[in-house]
Symmetry: C2
Subunit: 316 residues, 2 copies
């Protein structure tokens, strides 16, 4: 069995895989370009999911499984993979810890005026009279109450935050005080001090947040998007901010990434832009390969259940 | 009974006090200067504790009680108050929520490189490759495991942090995985990723952290001081940073406040200076006056126990 990586894998993890799975040949390539020579014999791709084209699928007639070390599947060649019934597993869930830390950190940074304090620090200015706000006791609408949303909900509960979890089904999710359906999103918007989108990019979520959504929000609400950028049109969000329908936007994801240097978001006073890094963590690969190893055991032993098998119909 | 304030009290709170306590005359002055005309008849001062001199005590022969809307008692005229057996109550504990939020926010800001990301944002730079660290799973040494330390410990546990609480007695404190005595502080320093000082300024805590303390710490440790500045000499901390005995210092309190504009801390790369604002919160006065009202009920009805009576011998 030949497993081909198309990205740099930490050397500690490479050594562990080679030792633990002598029946598997690992070809550790650091790019798809480098990997192309091995595709014709590959049973398994290990990729971040942004470099696989329909041609690569055709070039790999033995391919049975693609492990995507990420959660976003937007760039995967869906048709070719489904036609061949190739299993795709991903790293959904491992972003939960850094993304929940990102959200709490960015909210505290915003409520406690960190940008201004950092300016003061540069100017050697003792800005004691600056007003601060508290995160404690707020109401947080978590749009996308999956693994990441629930980890955020867990931390939010420690800050005595009321959590409203929104999911497709609206069923009871852990760490949510209230549960609602995506279709009923509008009903919950007016109650939230903080609206967090963790939605993937699917047909249903594209431009889910409309002009009318922002009109329903509190004028001191913070909108934080760490899901996918196309959940709201840039112009809609900019208008909502200009018209003070909401107070602040914390944006880690954008319709176009990298965010173009000329984009207005960069210099808007009540926007913080971060470079789609909410999921970045030194623990990223170790956690992703824990899922991979579990699935490889199932694959080799034909026993047990796979984790994180991607369902193209459901879209996650 | 005459109660004189020496600081601005929120109008909503003024109205509530006047309505609830018709038997008390409230003289709402916004400064000690303004209050001086009323001292000779005052039974009670309500102050932030930084404006009371021995002369003010002498000028108030009827004074029975001073409510300090703060926790720091460093500037109170101890001798005169004790000689007259005037009761002092303070607002110890109400800083717990904002200070715990400050600590978690600043640690996340540091681990997730917020200063650099804010620089990138200004330059419209998509800095995706920046390394991030996680707060989750660290070991936190909380030096001063009182009300604030325990609130921080509570949040830290949500981040799956191992908490070591240090107090004078070393007795078991809430949310602490390990409890130690101040006298044994040295034993715990080498284990901590994060060392938080929340100590008040007392004879025992002055310059408690020495050169040898920082040598014992991990070289990637973060030192966060939100207690009092004189727990460490500036030069000792600067040397520890220059010699890379620790990685970073987050400082909200200083030997001299406001921190002089020429002080090296302002521009040191691995230091963040904040203007003694960790306890600032819009909920500050509402929470402080909850304690005051409780104590006023005890005072008027001569029934029940006072909260937060200051003990000059213990020093808190």
């Amino acid at each position: 069995m030949l497993a081909v990586t198309t990205c740099k894998v930490q050397s500690r993890i490479q050594a562990e895989l080679v030792e633990k799975y002598p029946m598997v040949t690992f070809q550790f390539c650091e790019s798809m370009e480098e990997a192309e020579a091995y595709l014709s014999r590959a049973d398994l791709f290990i990729t971040y999911g942004e470099d696989v084209t329909p041609e690569h699928i055709k070039a790999a007639p033995l391919l049975k499984w693609i492990m995507v070390l990420s959660a976003g599947m937007d760039k995967m060649p869906f048709k070719e993979i489904e036609a061949r019934k190739i299993m795709v597993t991903n790293a959904r869930g491992i972003h939960a810890i850094p993304m929940a830390e990102y959200a709490i950190g960015m909210l505290l940074q915003t409520y406690r005026e960190s940008k201004t304090i950092i300016e003061y620090e540069k100017a050697h200015k003792w800005g004691k009279s600056l007003r601060m706000n508290e995160l404690t006791g707020r109401t947080m609408l978590i749009v996308g109450a999956g693994a990441i949303g629930q980890e955020l909900g867990r931390l939010a509960k420690a800050f005595r935050i009321k959590t409203i979890g929104i999911s497709r089904s609206g069923t009871k999710k852990e760490y949510m005080d209230v549960n609602g359906r995506v279709d009923d999103l509008d009903e919950y918007l007016s109650e939230a001090d903080i609206v967090v989108s963790i939605l993937p990019s699917t047909k249903e979520t594209r431009y889910l947040f409309t002009e009318s959504s922002f009109k329903k929000m509190k004028d001191d609400a913070i909108f934080l998007n760490m899901g996918r950028g196309d959940v709201v049109q840039d112009t809609v969000l900019m208008d909502a901010l200009h018209q003070r329908q909401i107070a602040y936007a914390i944006l880690d994801v954008f319709e176009q990434e990298p965010l173009p240097a000329a984009h207005p978001f960069w210099s808007m006073e009540r926007v913080t832009v971060t470079p789609h890094h909410s999921g970045v963590s030194p623990q990223y690969q170790p956690r992703a390969f824990e899922i991979f190893k579990h699935n490889l055991d199932v694959f080799l032993n034909e026993e047990g259940d796979y984790q994180n098998v991607y369902d193209w119909n459901r879209g996650y």
